[in-house]
Amino acid sequence: MLKSTHHVVNRPPPPPPQSIAALQEGWTEHTAPSGHNYYYHAATKKSTYTRPAQDPPPSIPQNEPAHWHQQSSFPPSQYPRAPLGSPQAYPQGAQHTPHHDFPRRSHDGRRQPPADRPKHLHTIPNCDPWVLVITKLGRRFVHNVESGESFWKFPPDILLAVIKFDHAQREGKKIEEGPKTATTEAGAAPRPETEHDAKEKENRDAEEQSEYEEVEVEVTDSEDEEMATKRLKLDGEEQAFEFNEDDMAYQLEGMGEDDFDAQGEFDDMIAEEDAEADELSPEDAELLFQDLLDDHHVNPYTPWESVIENDAIIDDSRYTVLPNMKSRLDVFNRWSRQRIEALKEAKAKQEKRDPRIAYLALLDKKGSTKLYWPEFKRKYRAEPTMKDGKLLDRDREKLYREHVKRLQQSQSSLKADLTKLLQSLPLSSLNRSTSLNALPSSLATDIRLISLPEKVRNPIIESHISNLPEAPDQADRSESERFQDDQKKAERDRRERALTEREQFAREQATRNSKSLMHSRRILEQEQREVQDAMRPGMKGLKSQLEGL
């Protein structure tokens, strides 16, 4: 019932070549208001869209191949030599199954089948005239460019080349897929290419055989198909339809598998992350945190509260290597203790900066016989050395008086005093490497040094220093120190590398999480869309849905 109404209403006009055949007796051709041609038999008062041609049976098989050849941009020619091959040049209706045999609309405008046609063309290496063609539906055949031959089943010599080619391609894909998993997953719209990918991924282990077997199965199907050449068109549509439904499920399956793969990788990542975390041992974490404190030049004398007020420290990634505040405080206490000890040692090693040195420098510049001590004190009271608590006022006054007294002596006696002083100094404090800017404190604190003006005394000191020998055992110490410095630096580099690796892993994990979230969300959306599509009745009401089943 349905079929007949549909037949009358929707059958479009027959293709132009048919019109060549003459009309049967009594039929006339008319044009409907919709633009379709129809035929009317005046005697029987019958009207029909089908052309009542005189010889209808042969017209269909003649028409169909021509139709297909028009559609296919890359028409594989007949292949006569193939043992299982069909005379049919192109793979329509490869998967014909008997239960779909009921008549269908062939030229329904609403559901035009996506015809299978060549999509990709690959040259097979070492197999020159032959090319591998992948159709839109993901099936593959080989085509000889020179002779124009095409085979669904690969001839044995070509088969080997194709297997090699596949291997090469898979390797390439693996490399490519590494960074681009996101894009391929994101683009997993229901398209044949991705389906093909999914297939490939699924069959990765047993691929070589199964894929070529698959081709064979297809070929046998199409061979069966040969028997029923009448239903070519129907099968073409049916096959496309089957793709729509089965492959959707197949794809979903594949995506699910992809998902599992991703999950597996994700687990691996977590395991690696754990391993990485194990690698960054507590000692390393502590050392990293100490590096952080060193780098920010934290004063070891400051309390912990003021250390963590500094945002720069908290924003540093090394701040997070320790799990909690208590451990950080512990590490800080240990670190500051060590640092203070080191500072104390350094201070003990360093010669004490005598407060008298700065004061004597002031006397050297400003002291004169024209000023009494109270006048001098008043005039230069703003100078920092005059306010220094380390040096008592009593001592300042004493030094000033002595200096002024010596300024009144004769130059020659002052020079003699200076040379005597220089000669009295030991070789360890005064030697050839001593510079005028950093004189030893025993010399700089002596009042005899500044009695002569700078212009006179500097040449004397320089000549004295140039006559002195080198200081004993300087080189050994510096070398061992340098070695220690190198070691420290290497250790630190290693720790920082570990930290960056750890951070990178964390970042990768985050992106992976977001990716898997996106993926699952997309699947959910797709499912929702499907459910919505199923729920919404089409233009034709329930009928269209029933037919869709």
């Binding site: 004063n299 004398y301 309390p303 509260e305 206490n333 500051s336 203790r337 203070i340």
Partner: protein
């Protein structure tokens, strides 16, 4: 008659004071700010909480420097106590078992309370009710029992 000590003849602080001088100045500034802070919108007893807190912090700082980090000399430590940079009585309590985290001396003065007991902040958290948050009246302490 004690000698008049001016800036000129005052004895300089012991060795190592310059290392901690900046931090002590920070504390002094904070204390000044706390003293001059407005009392608007504060309860009567809340006003002195910051004073107690800063005193506690500064005392703890000096205590840590001397006893745990061993960063300052005995002379400097004594000098700091003598010059009231740290509360010697509070530090004396910290050395006793059970008083390691004591917030202030007032919180253990049993004679000043109605029921002759210590302050609420001396009660360990596990003996308080679930989710009970406290802040003691004398210094705003939220709990200073050693077991916390």
């Amino acid at each position: 008659m004690p000698p008049i000590r001016s800036a000129r003849n005052r004895k300089p602080p012991p060795e190592g004071f310059e290392d901690i001088e900046d931090t002590l100045l920070d504390f002094a500034n904070k204390m000044k700010d706390a003293e001059n802070a407005s009392h608007e919108g504060k309860k009567r007893h809340e006003m002195i909480w910051p004073i107690f807190q800063i005193t506690h912090q500064r005392s703890r700082y000096i205590y840590d420097l001397y006893y745990t980090k061993e960063a300052i000399s005995k002379q400097l430590y004594d000098w700091l106590l003598k010059n009231n940079y740290a509360d010697a009585n509070l530090i004396a309590k910290w050395k006793k078992t059970g008083y390691e985290k004591l917030c202030c001396i007032r919180c253990i003065q049993t004679k000043e309370t109605n029921f002759n007991s210590t302050c609420i902040c001396r009660v360990p958290h596990d003996q308080l009710q679930e989710n009970q948050s406290i802040q003691c009246v004398s210094c705003g302490c939220r709990g200073c029992a050693s077991s916390d």
